[in-house]
Each structure stands twice: as structure tokens, then as C-alpha cells.
């Protein structure tokens, strides 16, 4: 008997869940829910939302950071919900587990049905039901049903269809049913893509911190939250070499070796013992001319703990090494304890010059009478590429004010240039350190080892300072003297602080400046010069405040001179100030047995920059600046070490996923029936097509087959 077939039977599978035949109503309902598409979609939505939260709230930060950012209430709530580590939170993993169960049930439910469906031709369909299809056609053929069926069958088979013919006895004679199917890969694709999701999730869960957690819960291991040396951490914080899946960091300084990786947890660290030790021979970092990093590479030697064998290797970004199932990646780099030699340069004249030696990461106590400061060596940078062009200094011409033609021409051509000029230069090594006072307050300093020519010919030492990480460094530009040293400036600053030397400089200046014919001017000029110098040195107060620098001179003019004469007064006072400072400088040089400054462009530039620097120097928040005089760089390489046995499962899942997605989207599952009923010498054909994709392509395909299959011999 031909089975009753309806269009919906051949249409796509349902999205309802698996309905077990046994068990209580609640059990059956929950299994149905768990395996239904709507539940899976709901889970995916939750995963999406959780993922968004995970990208917006910074993950794995120390707890105080969240308090700073969100306030105590929200921070506590977020930490309770583990929003600081969303992707390893228990509820996130639970959702993933549900997704795995749901998708597995879905695959289990559909696979047998699909496999049966793939095998079946559905040739037993009742010919009346062909009328119910969306794509249907009628036609009259000259051939007998059998001949027509064989021809149609061959045509379909030639087009890649699988065909089955069936003869049926009807009251009018023998009729033939042609049943054909194509695109079975679509259903296989469904199975592949959905199994892939399960495989990927399982592999990912396996490679996640599942084992690490299991060991902290069941294996008696606990998170270590203290500091100190790795070798002193007790065994309950150490995971064994046999741990099948982990991902951690391994820091090795040049010339040393390490075999303990650090796995950071939200509340501390765990130590992972490796089956080998990594010795870092050399860390190599190369830069492009623009200062961008070009290469990070580590020359390492792997020492096998069990056999004692050694194996050299080179680890680069994008080129990891692998040993005993553990992958070693180049992750980052750090200072491995470079030794630096610093010279303290007194900034307020009172302190004395001295030298210190230390290691990056370490600190030293320095005392200056009553002040006690801690010097913390933060970082040594050997290469600094900076943009020293006009534009970057803020004095560039406005590029927008050029005519259109010129503007356009500038934009044409090769992509190796920009309209804004940049001048990138390596300006040599720099040292970063912090000075912390007794109250724990610290300023951070960033000083370049060599004087830098900023483009105007005069070389300056850049002394950077900032109060917090959030700010950029502000630089005091101290001119280099004729020996390329900072001492010339220090000498001048010392002299400026000394009232006696100032007095002497004023006298010398007045003697040179005043025409001997007019002695009445001497007293007046001496008074002005001494006032200007006193104000500039910060020794005289204006309006009860001692600001010092050019600001004090300007304040003085504003209070003492009527508005109409200010401009002229300022000009005069500045000339007097510059003149006196020149004398002061010569005096200071003389005191140290140096000849007076000769008249030259270089001297003029030195004095100009020195005036600016002296003016800003009172704002420098430390009694001394440390100048880098020598260093010996030791680098450390940060490796990521990982063992991820689930990787192959995930990759298999990925392959299945891609194949499955393409099969589902680009293979349409179609079934085609042609019922050939005898009519006279020929046949009456009814044709129907069903597809699980409602697309215009299906319409087109149906029309094509209709034209080809339902043609009469006489039309050929």
C-alpha cells in the first residue's frame, strides 16, 4: 500500500525537543525543553550577554581596581557574581554544560531520523498527495508510462539525483511512479555542524581550568596569595608535572633557568611544575626605523628533568617551541635585573652630587639632611624612538591652509609618505625611577641618558616627571654645556641660589652696562638688576608670594608698573635679567676655574635655554635628578607555557563545523516525484518537488525540471 505522505512530512525536521515515552510528565517535559531549539537559542542569548559583560568589565584585575572603578557596592556585587572572571565563572561553565547537553540531545534525537530519511526514496507516496505540494505541474506525454519513467529516471540520474522507479497497477493499466532525491549531504551537514558544537565545547572545557580547579577542590591544592621567591612557596601551592591541561606564564632572565610556571587565579597564583627547565641564553628584540618592534625572539635551552638531556630551541612570536606536549610561546618581555649606574644631579643647589648603583626592580635609600627618600629603579629602556619634527613640537604650519590643488597633489602618489612631516629618531637610552618620600608619596621620573637636539641646534637633557601613571611625562629641558654635560646648568643654578654671588654678578653687570660718564645711573640699575635677579631666583616676594622664575618677574611688573608701560618695562627688565645671568654664569665658571663664556651662537642658545630651565626648575619636585651614566642590560623573556590536549578535539570540531555549515547552507535537500498514469498510448504526468529551503533557486530549478521532464517527443 502506498503510504500516506503529506508535504509536511517531507519538509524539514521539527524544532521541538525530544519526547521520551517513559517517565513522569515533569521529566518528559524537562527533557523536551532541554533538547528543544528554543532552549538552545535562549542559552546562546545568555552566553552572548555574559560575553558582552566580559568584554566591558576588565577581566582578572586586582579587586581594589573594581572598587575604584565602580564603588564598593557594585564591586562587591560584581565579585560575588564573578563578573571579574566571567569566562571561568561557575554559572558560565554551567550554561556551557547545558548547551552541550541540549545540543547532544538534539543530535541524538535527529540523527536516526535523518539517517533513515537519507536512505528512503519515499516512492510509496500516494499520487493524489502530489497535488498538495507548492511546486507541482501537470503534463501529457506521448510515451507510455514505462518508457517515460525510464527516460525521466535517466535524466534525473544524469543530473546527479538518486532515483527509484515503481510500477503500480491502476484500473486504467500500469502506472509508474518516479521518486528521486538529491542533496542528502544537507542532513549530514546538520549532524556534522551540531556535533561540532558539542566537540568544541567539550574540548574547550577540557583545556580550560577544569583540572586546575579539580586539584584545588579535591587534590588539596590551594591558591597562594603572598609574595616572595618562587623557591620558597610551599608544596600545597604547586601543581604536579602530570597536570594534563594548564596555561601559565614562565619568566626567565638571561643567563638563568626556570621550571615553574605561574598560573594566575583571581585571588592569587598557583605554581605549575614543568617536566623541564627553560634556560634563556639570550633575548633578542629588534626594531624598525620607526621604533616599532620588529622581532621578539628567545634563544633557549630546554633541560629535561627526567633524562637530563638538553635541547636548544628558538622561540619567536608566531613560532612556538614544543617539548613533551607542552607548547612554549613568546609572550612578552621584561627587565631581568639590569644594573644601572646613576649620578645624582642637585636641582636646588643645596644637595651634593653623588653616584648610586642599583638593579632595575630594586631600590635604595637616599638621605639629604632631614629628607629621607626611597629611590626605586623602575625601568631601563635602551632604545627610544621619538618623533622630533616641527609638527610634533606644536609649531608646525597649519596644513589645512593650502589651496585645493596643492592639497590634492600632496595626497597622490605612493603610500610611503604623509603630509605631516615626521622625523623619527632614536634618542638613546633612558632610565625611569621613582622617588618615594617617608609618607609613601612618589613621583615618577624619566630621564634620557644623552642630550637631545630638538631641532633648533641646541642639545638639551630631558628630565621627565609625573605624579601618577595616568598622566604623561612633563619634561624639564636642561641645556647641555660646551662639554655636552649637565654640569654647566647645575653650576649656574647653584650660583643663582647664592645671595652673595647674585650681588657680585649685579655689580659686574652694572659696571659693564653703565656709561662711566653717567654714574648717577649706577645705583638705579643696580637696584633693578638685583630686584630682577632676586625675583627670578625666588628670593624676593611679590604680593607676599615667592614664586620665582619668569612668573615672578611678570607678577612684579603687573603689580608695580601701570598698564601702559608694562610692555616696555618687561623688555627692559628681561634685558637686565639676561645680562645679570650671563655675569652670574661667568662668575660661577670662574669659581670652578673655567674661562668666561665666549660670545657665540652656542653660548647664546645655552643661555636662552638656561633661563627657561631655571625658570621652570623650582617646579621640579625633587632635590636631585638622577642621570644615567652607565648600564648593563639584562633582559627577561616571558613565555606562555600551555598543555592543551583538548586542542585536537576542538580542531576536529572546527573542521566538522565548516563542512557542516557549507553543507547545510549550500546543499538543498530536494525530493521530486513524477507520477505517470496511462492515458491512451501516452501518459498523464503529475510532477511535484519539495525542498527544505524556500528560495527562488528552488522555483528556478523546478521550472527547469518541468521543462526537461514533461516534454513531448513531438516537441523535440
Amino acid at each position: 500500500m502506498a503510504a500516506a505522505a503529506t508535504p509536511c512530512m517531507t519538509a524539514s525536521h521539527s524544532t521541538h525537543g525530544y519526547q521520551p515515552r517513559h517517565g513522569s510528565a515533569a521529566w518528559r517535559a524537562s527533557v523536551e525543553l532541554l533538547s528543544s531549539m528554543r532552549f538552545a537559542i535562549a542559552l546562546l542569548t545568555v552566553i552572548c550577554i555574559a560575553s558582552v559583560i566580559g568584554t566591558v568589565i576588565k577581566q582578572h584585575e586586582p579587586a581594589p581596581n573594581y572598587v575604584n572603578q565602580f564603588g564598593p557596592f557594585w564591586a562587591e556585587l560584581f565579585l560575588k557574581l564573578q563578573l571579574n572572571a566571567v569566562y571561568s565563572a561557575w554559572w558560565f561553565l554551567l550554561i556551557l554544560a547545558f548547551l552541550v547537553v541540549s545540543t547532544s540531545l538534539c543530535v541524538l534525537r535527529n540523527t536516526p531520523k535523518f539517517l533513515a530519511d537519507i536512505r528512503s526514496y519515499k516512492e510509496n507516496i500516494r499520487h493524489q498527495s502530489l497535488q498538495a505540494f507548492h511546486h507541482k505541474a501537470e503534463g501529457e506525454l506521448d510515451e507510455s508510462p514505462e518508457v517515460a519513467a525510464r527516460r525521466i529516471g535517466q535524466q534525473l540520474a544524469g543530473g546527479g539525483w538518486k532515483v527509484r522507479l515503481q510500477a503500480r497497477d491502476t484500473p486504467e493499466g500500469q502506472g509508474w511512479m518516479v521518486a528521486a532525491k538529491a542533496g542528502a549531504a544537507n542532513k549530514i551537514g546538520y549532524i556534522a555542524a551540531h556535533s561540532a558544537i558539542v566537540l568544541i565545547c567539550l574540548g574547550g572545557l577540557f583545556d580550560g581550568d577544569l583540572f586546575v580547579r579539580a586539584m584545588t577542590w579535591l587534590g588539596g591544592k590551594s591558591v597562594y596569595s603572598g609574595g616572595g621567591l618562587v623557591s620558597q612557596v610551599r608544596p600545597e601551592h604547586r601543581l604536579p608535572e602530570t597536570n594534563p591541561a594548564f596555561r601559565g606564564n614562565l619568566v626567565v632572565s638571561e643567563g638563568t633557568q626556570s621550571s615553574t610556571a605561574i598560573l594566575s587565579q583571581s585571588d592569587g597564583v598557583l605554581l605549575q611544575e614543568l617536566p623541564f627547565a627553560v634556560e634563556l641564553k639570550k633575548f633578542i628584540v629588534e626594531y624598525y626605523a620607526t621604533g616599532m618592534p620588529k622581532l621578539f625572539a628567545s634563544e633557549i635551552v630546554i633541560h629535561d628533568k627526567a633524562t637530563g638531556q638538553t635541547q636548544p630551541a628558538r622561540v619567536e612570536v608566531n613560532h612556538p617551541a614544543s617539548y613533551k606536549g607542552v607548547q612554549i610561546y613568546q609572550s612578552s618581555f621584561d627587565d631581568g635585573g639590569s644594573r644601572v649606574k646613576l649620578r645624582a644631579v642637585p636641582m636646588n643647589g643645596a644637595a651634593k652630587a653623588f653616584e648610586v648603583e642599583g638593579t632595575i626592580g630594586g631600590n635604595a635609600q637616599i638621605t639629604n639632611g632631614s629628607d629621607k627618600l626611597t629611590l626605586e629603579y623602575t625601568a631601563l629602556r635602551v632604545i627610544n624612538v621619538e618623533n622630533l619634527s616641527e609638527g610634533a613640537r606644536g609649531s608646525g604650519a597649519d596644513v589645512r591652509k593650502v589651496d585645493l590643488g596643492q592639497a590634492l597633489t600632496q595626497r597622490l602618489g605612493a603610500a610611503d609618505k604623509t603630509v605631516t612631516q615626521r622625523e623619527l629618531r632614536n634618542i638613546g637610552p633612558s632610565i625611569t625611577y621613582k622617588l618615594r618620600d617617608a609618607a609613601g608619596q612618589a613621583n615618577e621620573f624619566h630621564n634620557y641618558m644623552l642630550p637631545v637636539d630638538m631641532g633648533d641646534g641646541g642639545a638639551v637633557f630631558l628630565l621627565g616627571v609625573r605624579a601618577s601613571q595616568a598622566e604623561g611625562f612633563r619634561y624639564l629641558r636642561v641645556p647641555a654645556d660646551e662639554d655636552g654635560a649637565i654640569d654647566g646648568f647645575v653650576r649656574l643654578r647653584g650660583a643663582l641660589q647664592d645671595a652673595a654671588q647674585r650681588e657680585q654678578a649685579v655689580r659686574r653687570y652694572v659696571r659693564k652696562a653703565v656709561d662711566p660718564q653717567r654714574p648717577e645711573l649706577v645705583e638705579q640699575l643696580a637696584q633693578s638688576a638685583s630686584r630682577a635677579l632676586g625675583l627670578f631666583a625666588g628670593a624676593e616676594a611679590v604680593n607676599g608670594r615667592t614664586t620665582g622664575g619668569l612668573q615672578a618677574v611678570s607678577d612684579f611688573i603687573e603689580t608695580a608698573v601701570p598698564e601702559s608701560e608694562r610692555e616696555r618695562a618687561a623688555e627692559v627688565l628681561l634685558r637686565i635679567l639676561n645680562g645679570s645671568l650671563l655675569e652670574l654664569n661667568d662668575l660661577a665658571r670662574q669659581a670652578q676655574g673655567k674661562p668666561p663664556l665666549t660670545e657665540s651662537e652656542a653660548s647664546r642658545r645655552f643661555m636662552t635655554q638656561a633661563v627657561l630651565a631655571l625658570s621652570d626648575a623650582p617646579l621640579y619636585p625633587a632635590p636631585v635628578a638622577f642621570e644615567l651614566t652607565g648600564f648593563e642590560q639584562v633582559q627577561a623573556s616571558v613565555f606562555q607555557v600551555a598543555r592543551a590536549p583538548g586542542k585536537n578535539v576542538v580542531y576536529l570540531g572546527c573542521l566538522l563545523l565548516i563542512l557542516g555549515v557549507f553543507a547545510m547552507l549550500y546543499v538543498r535537500e530536494r525530493r521530486l516525484w513524477v507520477w505517470l498514469a496511462p492515458r491512451g498510448a501516452g501518459a498523464q504526468a503529475s510532477m511535484a518537488l519539495s525542498s527544505n529551503r524556500k528560495l527562488l533557486d528552488v522555483d528556478r530549478e523546478f521550472e527547469q525540471w518541468q521543462r526537461r521532464l514533461l516534454r513531448r517527443e513531438s516537441e523535440l
Binding site: A167, K294, D416, L665
Partner: protein, 446 residues
């Protein structure tokens, strides 16, 4: 009743001929040229390629041949692009300064000139498509011009890209790389990819009326590209940082942009669908959501900015906003005319599905390739880096769209709105993440 069950005779009669039997002599000539080109490239540059890159080159030839055979206009495109690029390379003769003296290079073929021309022609094409939309009687001709211009723009985009590749290598042996490494380069790619997919659907469905809508998103991308070039000067070729020095980039990035391009295409068709649907609507509050959403979408690139609009070249963006509001407003005002010109709902719906399907398939590949690359560069195939996470969200979003469409037969209004919302999510994953969220993928900061 059932008397016999017989299987059909397995000897088959071919109706439309085999795949190879349908090849014309032009197809074979094209294949030969592609192979010759690939062999030439191999012979000349094999020394500077690693084994994976050699395999990628070997794989490129059949892919290009396949594409040319699949859709024949691509043959012409590829040959013209190759010819012009070779002309540029020969004119350069190894000296980038010739870009300022050789006429062809200076005004047409050097990468910056080609890309500026591309930008202008994309805008012109958009204008012609819209003129075609509103013109009475001349629609076909105007849209035809728009379509031709679009081909020219795509050609120039590809020439600009290839010449840029060459220029990079001329700047220094360690600088050159395939131009898919930063936001500037991928925006060029986004433009031609979206346009090319559109041109394919245009020819398949024999209607040019969708072009006006699709070109809006391409024009928006070009607007961003111009700002990025003129204000930020992001066009300068930069060398690759160590993390990007990998052959994976050649596969991962283009696969991703097939996804981004087609998702954008689908969203614009969704927009067209909604406009057509609202043709007879007169109540303003019913139309307002589309208008607001349209402007918001135009604004995606700066809506995500942290810094103020003024700081980022204020007048430029203000103008951009005004233009966006006007365009969306005009579209709504002319909705009846637009609705009459647009193809049927079925066609819009079909193209929307097709482009999301192809985008989803390639986005899957791109994400998997990204995971494989991450496993080699960062030490784990999945790190929940913001870009990765957002790629997953985009993927899940379109997976849900496809499920609803294929299983529940979702189409029409909801599908269109969803596709539009999908563009917002995609854009955030594409640009927003770079601006907002720091992570391993910070290659194109703004």
C-alpha cells in the same frame, strides 16, 4: 498492487553537459593566464616565501580560476586589474619617487591616487544609482551608468591594493606585506568586497534597483576612509609588528571581510525591505524608528568614539551627520517611488538570505582560522580576547538568524530589522572593539 520496484538504469544521459564540457575557450585561456601568472610569481619571489606562503600561492591559482569560471565578468576584472597593476609596477621600475614624475603613476595608478579615484567613483556610482531610483523614464540608463562606475571603482580599489603591496616592498625589504594588516587597508577591502558581492547579485537577479541602498553603506565606509586618510593620515604603509608576521593573516583577514561585507549588504537590503514595506505609511511615529535607526547606523563609526566629536575634526563629522540625516530623511520622503522601483519582497528577502548565508559560512571559516592562528601566536586557540568574543557574538547572532529563517521560516519585517541590528553588532565588532576595548587585537586604533 505494487508489482515491481526497479532502480533506474545507471547509465546516465547528460543534459547540461559536465562542468568541464561547459567551459569556453575563453575560460581555458583565462585559466592558462592565471597559471602563468602564478608560476611567474613563484619563479620570481619563491626565495622570500616560506612553505606555507608557497602553498597559499599554489591555492590562489585554482581559486581565482574557479571564481573566473563561476562568474565570467570576474575574468575581465582580474585581467584588467592584473594589467594595470603590472603597468604600475613597470612604471615604478623599483623607484617610488617616480610616483611624482610619471604621469600614469602620479594621477592614476600609484596606490594613493588609485584609492582616491576609487573613493570618488564610489560616490559617483552612489549618486547615479539614486538618480536612477528617482528619475522618470531614464532609470535603466542611469542605473546602468552607476553599475559601470561601480566596476571601475572595484577595479581601482584592487589596483590600489596590489600597487600598495608592491610599494610596501619598495620601501624596504622588511616593510612590505599584503595590505590587509590595519584598519585603513581593511576598509578598502570592505568597500570592494561589498561592492563586488552586490554586483554579483545584481547580475543574478537582473535588477539594479538594490544598488542605491547597498551603495549607501559603501559610501559611508568610503567617507570614513577619507577621514582616516585626510585627518589621521592612516594611509602610510607601516611595517608589521611581530604578532602579525604570519601567513595566517593572508587567509584570516580576507575570510573575515567576506563576512563583514555580506552582512553589511544584507542589512542594507533589510533597510530597503522596510522602506518598501512602509511605502503607504503616513503616520510619522511609525516611520520614526527607521529614520532614527538609519541615522544611528550612519553614525556607528563615531557613536563609539570615546573622545568628543569636536576633537576629532568636528566640522567634518558635523557635515557627515547632516548628510546622513538628510539622506535617510529623503529616502523616507521618497518611499513610494522607491517602493515602486525596488524589486519584489521575495527578491529582497532571497538576496538578504543569500548574502547572510555566504557571510556566515566565511565568517565561520575566518573565526576558525583565527583560532588556529591564535593557537600559534598567543598560545591558545581561544583567549576570550574582546575581538574574539565579539566575533563569537556576531557569529551567534547570525547563527540565530539562520536558524529562525530555516527552521521557523522567519522572513519579512522581523528578519529585516534583525539584519539591520546585525550590522550594528558587526560594526561594533569591526571598529568599536578597536576603539573601546583594549586587547590582543589592537592593530587599528583610532
Amino acid at each position: 498492487m505494487n508489482t515491481s520496484v526497479a532502480t533506474a538504469n545507471p547509465t546516465s544521459v547528460t543534459l547540461d553537459g559536465g562542468f568541464f564540457a561547459r567551459r569556453t575557450w575563453g575560460d581555458w585561456l583565462f585559466a592558462l593566464l592565471v597559471l602563468a601568472g602564478a608560476l611567474f610569481a613563484f619563479q620570481r619571489y619563491h626565495a622570500s616565501m616560506d612553505v606555507y606562503e608557497k602553498w597559499i600561492l599554489a591555492g590562489t591559482a585554482p581559486v581565482l580560476i574557479g571564481l573566473g569560471w563561476f562568474w565570467r565578468p570576474l575574468r575581465t576584472l582580474m585581467l584588467v586589474v592584473a594589467g594595470l597593476s603590472l603597468l604600475a609596477v613597470l612604471s615604478y621600475a623599483g623607484d617610488l619617487r617616480r610616483a611624482d614624475s610619471v604621469f600614469w603613476l602620479k594621477y592614476f595608478l600609484s596606490s594613493q591616487s588609485a584609492i582616491l579615484w576609487m573613493s570618488m567613483i564610489f560616490f559617483m556610482s552612489t549618486v547615479f544609482y539614486w538618480l536612477g531610483m528617482f528619475s522618470r523614464g531614464q532609470s535603466e540608463a542611469l542605473e546602468g551608468i552607476g553599475s559601470k562606475l561601480l566596476w571601475v571603482a572595484v577595479t581601482l580599489a584592487l589596483v590600489g591594493t596590489l600597487v600598495r603591496w608592491y610599494e610596501g616592498h619598495q620601501m624596504g625589504p622588511d616593510i612590505g606585506h599584503i595590505p590587509v594588516s590595519n584598519l585603513y587597508e581593511v576598509f578598502v577591502m570592505f568597500c570592494w568586497m561589498t561592492a563586488l558581492f552586490y554586483l554579483y547579485y545584481e547580475s543574478q537577479y537582473r535588477t539594479r534597483a538594490m544598488g542605491a541602498f547597498v551603495m549607501l553603506v559603501v559610501s559611508a565606509a568610503v567617507g570614513f576612509l577619507l577621514w582616516y586618510t585626510l585627518v589621521r593620515e592612516a594611509h602610510e604603509i607601516q611595517p608589521l609588528i611581530p604578532a602579525l608576521q604570519s601567513w595566517w593573516m593572508k587567509l584570516h583577514v580576507p575570510a573575515n571581510f567576506i563576512g563583514y561585507g555580506t552582512f553589511a549588504l544584507a542589512a542594507m537590503l533589510g533597510f530597503a525591505y522596510l522602506i518598501k514595506q512602509q511605502a503607504e505609511e503616513t503616520r510619522w511615529y511609525k516611520l520614526a524608528p527607521i529614520w532614527v535607526f538609519g541615522i544611528a547606523l550612519c553614525f556607528v563609526p563615531i557613536a563609539f568614539r570615546q573622545r568628543g566629536v569636536g576633537e576629532a575634526g568636528g566640522s567634518y563629522w558635523l557635515g557627515y551627520a547632516l548628510v546622513a540625516a538628510l539622506i535617510v530623511g529623503t529616502i523616507l520622503l521618497g518611499r513610494r517611488r522607491i517602493a515602486a522601483r525596488l524589486p519584489s519582497f521575495e527578491v529582497l528577502d532571497d538576496v538578504m538570505y543569500k548574502s547572510i548565508a555566504v557571510g556566515f559560512a566565511f565568517f565561520t571559516i575566518a573565526t576558525v582560522l583565527g583560532a588556529l592562528w591564535a593557537a600559534e601566536a598567543w598560545g591558545g586557540y581561544w583567549s576570550w580576547d574582546p575581538k574574539e568574543t565579539w566575533a563569537l557574538i556576531v557569529w551567534l547572532n547570525y547563527a540565530a538568524w539562520l536558524h529562525m529563517r530555516l527552521m521557523k521560516g522567519l522572513r519579512g519585517t522581523v528578519a529585516s530589522w534583525w539584519a539591520l541590528a546585525g550590522l550594528a553588532v558587526t560594526t561594533f565588532a569591526f571598529i568599536g572593539v578597536n576603539m573601546f576595548l583594549s586587547g590582543l587585537h589592537s592593530y587599528g586604533s583610532l
